[in-house]
């Protein structure tokens, strides 16, 4: 019997309309865990570098995490993997909600889509019955609307539906997949789904998920619940409000938006509005949120309330989570009321809340600069807010200039030319990032931004405080119950970290310390993404209930795989490297490992190179950021090394030369 996982994937060939239930190899689970890990393995094995995002050979994988469907609190994420149209690299966006556990209860760990359907279809998975159904009547429907319509026509109110909106159907490069109160937004996964002509996947399951050591597993769950209670009663002092507790940033709960509105950039990542937040705005925004938020809501089996139902007069009800609350508002220099209204439309269209507002602000900037002409915007409304609604429709319908803008700032700027590229200034690996411009380079963040292959800073940071606390005694106090550290040395790193003087940024934490910190934070996120655990109870907040010391026990007791801290760290490293390998094979190199040009005012080119060198060295990668043969073989990825050598990406006798060079210097 397989524990925690079902041991079966659904393989759907959309071109031929063929559906197969395929047993998976438990040895792959031991090596790559599940979720992101086994997704990466499938993409490596089956999607070569010649496969373009919109070719039938590209796969789109919907995967439940290894522990989804077990009683592990907050473990509910679906990990979607494919080749992204925007970055042309591996995309692995995640969504919470209710879909992944339902898939497990239906008896499957993954749904692997290949080929392309001729007409628009949806998939209906009901335990052992799986059908490809006509979706022509759903063409152009909103993602939330589609989910409701499918539930009604199937007479299955409990079915969970992941759907795309018009943006996905029209292959907008930053189209999302929406589900429950969640979405998989980054990397344009919705565009690939639309390209395959799949409008939705509905699933309903009523089967059991088994545990290897039941009593032990439930004890671990109870400990996690007790710790969540403890953290609720003991918020962390000295950090900003949204970082004090657990959960993914509690944006739906928080009214005080001083920090975000004054530190993040408005417009197309242009203006920092210091002193923006005042009493009048606070009152207006509080009233807006209070007046539209019906209820704080959760994902499957999680007590945190990170999302909200939003009902505004004259606007259909929808559900929102996290930072989309502010992205449209800030891009348009508007207010929260506008932000929540346009987000409803964007959710139905199925769009990434990070990229979309920036692309629209970018278009208006190009118009102002004379790079785009008034002719490009026929019938452009007067008011700023109306312009954003106008642009949203242009992009989603791919009308006129909207057709170009649908590719995101990087590709649109290239196509528009005439100096437009100067304006696409906030991308990493061709994808829009959080609009930040800070003063002094922070070595930890520099590295996380540069090497993060998830294309989103919030999905690699966490665990280690974002800044030093002003007083040593506060830092010492923080360390007293810091049980999550993998090694005691991290406490000392933090205690010695000062705001000013010798031990302050950018030269402290040192290169070595920075690499350690980044590796720890990254490892936790990668473990979460294989298990299907929400980062909000694990890798993202400070002092979370899940950490490197209890995770191995969860895996052993849940999945019945012998696991200790070392084997788990090795597994995370293995599939982290495999993600890198997929991207390296697609042409990614050191040059791509860099943050947006003007992300920090004060830069330190030499230090930045040392940070990259240090990180590569720690990983066993060569100076180009390519995992070296030795390191690959050591972690059981000899087949990657062979492939690299065959393709001339590595030479036969090549080692991780960073170390040698640093030593000789």
């Amino acid at each position: 019997m397989r524990y925690a996982e079902t041991g079966f994937n659904l393989e759907v060939d959309l071109t031929r309309g063929n559906i197969e239930k395929v047993a998976t190899d438990p040895r792959d689970t031991a090596l790559y865990l599940g979720g992101l890990g086994t997704n990466a393995k499938i993409l490596w094995d089956r999607v070569g570098p010649e496969v373009t995002p919109f070719s039938p050979e590209n796969l789109l994988i919907f995967s439940a995490g290894l522990l989804c469907g077990t009683p592990a609190t907050g473990c509910n994420r679906t990990i979607l993997s494919t080749i992204s149209p925007q970055t042309e690299l591996m995309a692995f966006s995640m969504m919470g909600g209710f879909w992944a556990p339902e898939l497990k209860y239906a008896g499957y760990d993954k749904v692997v889509l290949r080929g392309k359907s001729e007409k628009l279809v949806y998939l209906w998975i009901h335990n052992d019955t799986v059908e490809i159904r006509d979706a022509s009547h759903l063409a152009g429907k909103g993602s939330v609307e589609t989910a409701e319509m499918i539930r009604q026509e199937l007479k299955q109110p409990k079915a969970q539906v992941a759907a795309i909106g018009l943006a996905g159907e029209n292959r907008v490069y930053y189209a999302s997949v929406e589900q429950g109160r969640s979405s998989a937004s980054r990397g344009g996964i919705g565009a690939v789904m639309g390209d395959k002509r799949v409008k939705a996947i509905a699933v309903r399951g009523t089967k059991d998920i088994n545990l290897a050591k039941p009593e032990e597993f439930i004890t671990l769950c109870n400990d996690v619940l007790a710790y969540i209670k403890h953290r609720e009663d003991n918020p962390i002092k000295g950090v900003m409000t949204i970082l004090q507790g657990l959960g993914s940033p509690q944006e739906m709960k928080v009214h005080d938006e001083k920090w975000h509105t004054e530190n993040f950039m408005w417009g197309n990542s242009r203006t920092r509005r210091k002193g923006f937040w005042n009493e009048e705005i606070e009152k207006a925004w509080t009233d807006t949120l209070e007046g539209s938020r019906t209820r704080l809501i959760s994902c499957f089996n999680c007590p945190m309330k990170c999302g909200a139902t939003i009902s505004m007069p004259g606007v259909p009800t929808y559900m929102m989570k996290c930072f989309t609350k502010l992205t449209y508002t800030m891009a348009a220099y508007s207010d929260l009321d506008f932000g929540l209204r346009i987000a409803q439309k964007a959710t139905e269209y199925g769009l990434d809340g990070f990229s979309t507002p920036q692309v629209m602000a970018f278009a208006l900037e190009l118009l102002e600069a004379g790079i785009l002409k008034p002719d490009d915007f026929p019938g452009l409304p007067e008011s700023n807010e109306d312009r954003f609604f106008y642009l949203l429709d242009m992009i989603v319908n791919r009308e006129g200039i909207g057709d170009v803008l649908a590719k995101g700032t990087y590709w649109a700027a290239k196509e528009i030319g005439n100096g437009a590229e100067e304006y696409a200034h906030n991308t990493i690996k061709k994808h829009e990032q959080l609009p930040l411009k800070l003063s002094m380079l922070n070595p930890i963040y520099f590295l996380m931004y540069s090497v993060g292959e998830k294309i989103n800073i919030t999905q690699i940071e966490g665990q280690f405080p974002q800044a030093p606390f002003p007083k040593r005694e506060h830092r010492e106090k923080f360390c007293e119950d810091w049980i999550q550290v993998p090694h005691e040395k991290f406490k000392q790193y933090f205690i010695d970290w000062e705001l000013r003087g010798e031990n302050s940024i950018p030269y402290y934490p040192t290169v070595e310390m920075t690499c350690d910190i980044v590796e720890w934070q990254e490892m936790m996120h990668y473990i979460d993404d294989a298990l299907g655990q929400c980062a909000g109870l694990s890798s993202f907040p400070l002092k979370p209930p899940y950490h490197i010391h209890n995770y191995p026990k969860f895996i052993s007791a849940g999945a019945g795989i012998d696991m200790d801290e070392e084997t788990l760290s090795d597994a995370a490293k293995r599939y982290r490297t495999l993600v890198r390998a997929v991207n390296i094979r697609r042409g990614m190199r050191r040059e791509d490992d860099r943050p947006p040009e003007n992300h920090w005012k004060k830069r330190f080119p030499e230090l930045e190179e040392k940070l990259l060198d240090g990180y590569y060295q720690l990983k066993g990668w060569n100076k180009e950021g390519i995992p070296a043969k030795e390191a690959l073989e050591k972690m059981g990825l000899g087949y990657v090394a062979e492939d690299f050598i065959q393709r001339g990406i590595l030479t036969e006798d090549e080692t991780a030369d960073v170390q040698t060079e640093t030593q000789t210097q």
Binding site: G69, T70, P71, T73, F98, Y105, V144, E148, P157, G180, R181, G205, T206, K207, D208, I209, N210, L211, P214, E215, F217, I218, L225, I228, K229, T294, R295, L296, I297, S298, C299, F300, N301, C302, P303, K305, T309, S311, T317, Y318, M319
Partner: protein, 182 residues
């Protein structure tokens, strides 16, 4: 079945505060895990003795735990309007009845009933509901003592209703004979 006598007894009820429910369904997960055999060895919300009626877009979140099995469905089903939202009476019913799939074992169709997690300090759905939508209330009451039906008895009774007691006894006799011959 035991005779009925008046006795003082601690009556346990689960108080439900729908305003606090966040719709996460942790109650369904732990309920089905607790009642698995061996205990916690599996979980499956479809086997849970509590369920959440969940319609996020209409802001309906109502946890309901399983009550008595009933062999017949209701004659009429009233509609209720609460806070401007319309509810079907049937939605909130605790009974396992022929017209619904709720509170039935998905494999056998046998009825399920909440037993307040007998043997535990409190029902586990209450323990796992960190948002306090479910709380345990205990009060002392004079009640007519009646022996609690066990799961098996409950199941058998529903089978007797369906097939008739004689058919069932014949079948049982045949089954035990088959068993002996193995």
């Amino acid at each position: 079945m035991a005779g009925k006598t008046k006795e003082k007894k601690i009556v346990k009820t689960i108080k439900i505060d729908v305003d606090k429910c966040n719709g996460c369904r942790a109650c369904e997960v732990i309920c089905s895990a607790f009642h698995a055999s061996p205990k916690y060895s599996s979980n499956n919300p479809a086997r849970s003795r509590i369920r959440i009626i969940r319609e996020p877009l209409r802001d309906i979140y109502v946890p309901v735990y399983a009550g008595e099995y009933t062999m017949a469905e209701c004659a009429g089903r009233d509609k209720y309007t609460i806070d401007g939202k319309e509810y079907d009476e049937c939605s909130f019913c605790r009974a396992s009845c022929p017209s619904r799939e709720e509170f039935k074992e998905p494999d056998s169709g046998l009825p399920l009933k909440c037993d307040m997690c007998e043997g535990e300090d409190e029902p586990l759905c209450v323990k796992w509901c960190l948002v306090d939508a479910l709380t345990l209330e205990e009060r002392e009451e004079e009640v007519e003592e009646q022996e609690e039906m066990e799961d098996l008895e409950l199941g058998l009774e529903s089978l007797a209703d369906k097939f008739g007691i004689q058919t069932m006894m014949d079948t049982l006799a045949r089954m035990s004979k088959d068993d002996k011959s193995k």
